[in-house]
């Protein structure tokens, strides 16, 4: 084979590899969806973050509008401080509330933002004050059992 032919084939090989990398990054990973657009950072404090992790999605009305960037525990209030980056094109009123929700029965947890009615919008670095913690199954079962027991106790009392 001529030298020129070999060079062309090698060039094609390298191009093919690059195309594979572009395919993996854009079509089969998150580079195309969200992450490299610049956003603004807001924080929220939760009593219990459940199974939330960094890089979990932030959704409003089910649409992904951002990602959780970090989660730390506040040593004074013992609350979980969740920092999230929201897409700059989406603005929420200041009194919007944040909840930790689960997608489906066994799905991943995400932060859901419900817009409020304030005239002013959340600015970068502000804190979402109204939050609702993750639902912990054990607490839920505990409450259920407790209320059942109370019901049974009062029922038994009435029977006497």
């Amino acid at each position: 084979m001529t030298k020129r032919g070999i060079e062309t084939l090698v060039g094609l090989f390298v191009l093919l590899g690059m195309a594979g990398l572009v395919f993996l990054s854009l079509k089969a990973a998150n580079l195309g969806s969200f992450g490299n657009r610049d956003g603004y950072v807001v924080t929220a404090r939760f009593d219990n973050i459940g199974g939330l992790k960094p890089r979990s999605p932030v959704r409003s009305a089910g649409v992904t509008v951002g990602r959780v960037t970090s989660i730390v525990l506040d040593g004074k209030t013992f609350q979980g401080v969740v920092t999230m980056e929201l897409d700059r094109s989406v603005q929420f009123p200041r009194d919007s509330s944040a909840k930790i929700l689960t997608s489906g029965l066994l799905g991943d947890q995400y932060v859901g933002i419900e817009p409020g009615g304030d005239e002013k919008n959340l600015a970068a670095g502000e804190v979402i004050t109204q939050t609702q913690s993750a639902v912990v199954l054990e607490n839920l079962i505990g409450q259920f059992l407790f209320s059942k027991a109370a019901e049974g106790g009062s029922g038994g009392g009435a029977g006497k």
Binding site: K3, I6, E7, L9, V10, F13, V14, L16, G17, G20, L21, F23, L24, S25, K27, A28, A29, N30, L31, G32, S33, G35, K53, P54, R55, P57, T64
Partner: protein, 259 residues
């Protein structure tokens, strides 16, 4: 007493050969900048190592994608989670199977040919002839092959993963009927470019260095006889494969253990 001295001799022997291999590797690295200047030699080696391995890599990647999709479908359909099929195939290919299987195939396809070629050069005293003409065989013969291997390996691993995901797409979406939108969108939501794809590429570069360096060392240090070349070729495959598997465990533990 005899046993103890045998053990001591064995230990010294192992250390000596390890040191020998380490010095060989340092020489090889030292010779690479000079080889970069003679880039046409490198291009020929990328063709011999990369282009000619393309068919086996693509065929194997496609086959792995097919069977992964089929097997995962049977496991996931019980839980009604068939949409996650794309994600599982993607993560297992990009993080583990792509780099590792591509490296094992690379050791078998390209590593052996490197060892045999250099071993025969040595058996035919071409290496010694070069030294006689004051040409450093490490920078003229070995370094271009080394660069060729290190450049080709990541490209081959990327193509292996990409064609595997396409194979899984063919089986899952086109043949079985998993929802196409979910297949891609769950993948895009959960696979991270730097953490998953990037670490996979780093792995494949490490494997490229290991496989190529082992193949070149075995060829260069072969006994200059037909049996010696045969023995060296076998050892290339065995040592490369075991090093790749061992190194993969270490790299996985380092890259994916946290979070």
């Amino acid at each position: 007493m005899n046993l103890v001295s045998t053990l001591g001799a064995r230990t010294l022997e192992v250390l000596r050969s390890l040191g020998h291999a380490a010095f060989f590797f340092i020489d090889l690295l030292r010779a690479t900048p000079a080889a970069m200047r003679r880039f046409n030699l490198v291009v020929v080696q990328i063709h011999a190592i990369g282009n000619l391995s393309l068919v086996i890599i693509l065929a194997s990647g496609m086959a792995v994608g097919f069977v992964l999709a089929l097997q995962m479908y049977y496991a996931l359909v019980t839980y009604g989670a068939t949409e996650s099929l794309g994600l599982i195939v993607n993560l297992s290919l990009v993080r583990e199977l792509g780099p590792v299987v591509a490296a094992l195939l690379f050791a078998g396809r390209a590593g052996t040919s490197l060892t045999a070629e250099i071993g025969l050069m040595k058996a035919g005293e071409q290496i010694a002839a070069m030294e006689m003409m004051a040409i450093d065989p490490k920078s003229r013969v070995l370094a271009p092959r080394f660069i060729g291997g290190v450049v080709s390996m990541p490209l081959l691993a990327i193509l292996f993963s990409a064609i595997g995901i396409l194979g899984a797409y063919v089986v899952a979406v086109l043949l079985i009927g998993v929802d196409e939108g979910n297949f891609w969108s769950i993948m895009q939501a959960r696979v991270d470019v730097w953490r998953d794809v990037g670490n996979g590429v780093v792995k494949s570069i490490v494997f490229g260095v290991i496989c190529t360096a082992v193949a070149l060392y075995q060829g260069y240090e072969t006994q200059a006889t037909p049996e010696g070349v045969a023995y060296a070729t076998t050892r290339t495959v065995v040592i490369s494969s075991l090093s790749v598997l061992g190194m993969d465990f270490v790299l996985t533990a380092l890259m994916f253990s946290t979070g």
